[in-house]
Amino acid sequence: MTQRSRMRFSAVSVFAVVGALALGMIASGPANAAISKTTLVVGMSADLDFLDPAATMDNAQWKITYPCYQRLVEYNGASTDVVPGLASAWRISRDHLTYTFTIKSGQKFSDGTAVTAKAVQYTFERMLKVAKGPADNFTSIASVRANGLKTVVFVLNQVSPQFLYTLAGNYGGIVNPTTASKAVSGDNGQAYLADHTAGSGAYVLTEWKKGQYLKLEQNKFYGGKKPVLETVLFKIVGDASSQRLQLGKGEIDIAEGITSDQYAAVAKEDGNTVINKPSLTVDIMYINSGKGNVALKNKLVRQAISYALDYEGIMAATQAGNATQMNGPIPDGMWGQDPKGFQYTTNVTKAKALLAQAGVSNLSLDLVYSARKSWWATEAQLIQANLAKAGITVNLKLTEYATARQLIDAGTFDLCLGTWSPDYADPSMFMNFWFDSGNFGLAGNRSFYSNPAVDKLIRSAASITDQKKRTALYIQAQKIVVEEAAYGYLYQMNYRLALRTDVKGFVYNPMIEQIYNLETMYKA
């Protein structure tokens, strides 16, 4: 063998060894095993943060906690009404300030201890002590007292029409008081509950491989009907295309991360289906009339912006048309909505005229958004193009979510994209949060909108319980805030979810979006 050919031989052999290694791996069987019928695998886009019901305010984490805890009252299927949960019955005092619940018997936490009135008291007292997001929903609680084993009494310091509904939210999940012993350095057990569940729900979090998956298994002591699904895995698949590929191969049963433009194609693929239902989530643009560009204080300018937007085009590009243009702040499907509410149309001429009337020219605005929603980049660029036609320059400011939140709280922006969904089925979720001048910033009023007349209307609507009277007040307020174009009322979106056709029994409830009714789901 000559020197030359010997060297070539070694080059070849290096490639050959690598090739053989690769082939060996590949030859050793198929890449994936089929998932059993009693296991459900959900593909989610990112790992979760923490699961403490007294701390988490994010629907993404709630999909874990919701089936692991039970609440005093629960949403009834797909409706926004509540039905008995851990509480078999309740009584509301005439002044709407005292709520008395009777605890259902036979309910047990995942460690086998019984659910008692003391546990309810512990849960709420702890939540208020932790003083994080969830506590904001219960500022009306003056005291909560267990009265014996079965009775618990909430005393409110003000009338709170939505109180019962907030109890059905994730933060209403009753925590096992034995976890008090897990507290370290006065954290009220936050560190422990951050990655453990301790509820009486149908499931228990049994494993959390950070960055990989979370595993739910049945709670042996669950007091309700035994669910079909033995195991539920929430697998982290960051990339949307990977999720789609894995869904197609049946490696995951539900793909949460499918992007808007891909649903149509996913639905056409064998074995896949897409759920498409109207939701109560709205996509809006904050128009900072308090701390933003001075021109935005003028309602004519805000109206001009509203007329310049191409609503149809935006809905087509961001939601593939699976959306409805809003006609006011309250979405369709929520009581209190104004069915005859005014809807802005695309009218560039009118927009220009309004700007001229306002005496504003060469307006240049910053539009802040984050990558939190996959469609915001598209939406922002379209809005930029729309407003350019009316002669308004828009500078896009893509920031990270945390930064965007800070800017929103401080009011240092002109325009900003956001979504909003109600925590409980009450129009105050929209009206009081968005427009009360006491709620500036992250708290809800992100347009820094201030109108004493509106303040008066919505505050009185929130302090009474008569739904008819409240509706009237809210409709009156809506007419003002729509006319004044306090926000860019874009669209109410559809909830879309891609899943395998053999996943059955999923019930979508707009109040608890992203949460699965695992107790009654099954695979066929």
């Binding site: 020197q3 010997r6 060297m7 070539r8 070694s10 080059a11 290096v14 690598v18 690769a22 791996m25 590949i26 050793s28 198929p30 890449a31 994936n32 095993a33 943060d49 923490f50 403490d52 701390a55 305010m57 003083a131 994080k132 997001g133 969830p134 506590a135 904001d136 500022t139 560190a191 951050a194 990655d195 491989k209 950070k210 960055g211 990989q212 998956y213 895995l233 697998k235 982290i236 698949v237 960051g238 990339d239 295309s241 990977s242 590929l245 191969k249 920031t399 990270e400 979510y401 945390a402 930064t403 939140r405 800070q406 929103i408 709280d409 969904s421 709620n439 992250l442 708290a443 809800g444």
Partner: protein, 334 residues
Amino acid sequence: MLRLIRARLAMLVIVLFGVSIITFLMAHVLPGDPTAALAGPHPSQETLNSIRTQFGLDKPLPVQYIKYLSNLFHGNLGTSIRSQQPITQEILAFFPATLELVTVAFLLAIGIGIPLGVIAAVKKNTFSDYVIRLFAVGGVSIPLFWGGLVMILIFYAKLGWLPASGRLDIELSSPETITGFYFIDALFGGDKETFINVLKHLVMPSLALGYVQLAFIVRQVRSSMLDALSQDYYLTGRANGLSHRFLVVRYALRNALIPSITIIGLSFGSLLGGAVVTETVFDWPGMGKYVTDSILGRDFPAIMGFTVVIALAYVIINLLVDLLVYSLDPQTRK
């Protein structure tokens, strides 16, 4: 040798101190408040303030930093804002995955890169040289995120040969932790199915990451090998009848490796950087993904914990490189 270790330890102190200051400042000028992102969709001001107090974010920066340093001194990296878990514990969970990925990629790169670099040098300016150099330059040129995604498309989506994400199929339970390296743990565990599954998951990410490093190694080895082959001792050997092959393997290689090792060792940083992207593309549950999420989520303690650990690793790698050079190069033993 003791002096070497002592010098490295001194460096460790300086580097750690510098890194902690830089990271601390950087983390705190990052626009964005972690509490605002965590407090829920519409928190009240009271809630935001209460959370800031809980994380000590309301204190002046120097106070926060001194507190951080004193905790660090006690081996405590703090608590993650995003997960509420001790950072030390989190890093222990994520670090082995990265180390496994990086090590395998590195071994692949060395195993293939050194021979290729040698061949390219020996066959300088021939067809094989051009092919190898093109192959190598491809590695440093292909955008890792794009290359990785294309690999997924081919080997997972089209051919179905290899899994696309994670360290192990979700139906299989992870092997009992001995080293934290799944493929070693699975081997000890004796479960053939798990072992093969672990290897399959390793193939794509380690090849993607290894290719970049391989390219770097080929370039480096080729150039130092050319240097070594142009040295007089090579000619002496040839003139004394030693074969070209013998000289390449026994004489030139060792001498070429000394400068290469230093440079390849120091490129560990770039490998970790590459791991950030690889882990994102292949959903590899490691430090890269962890730190990206932490940066985006403004999880200051986590960002700092990560950089401190990486700086530590950097100094350790430096020491290892020094020791390796020490063992290879008699001149350092003067």
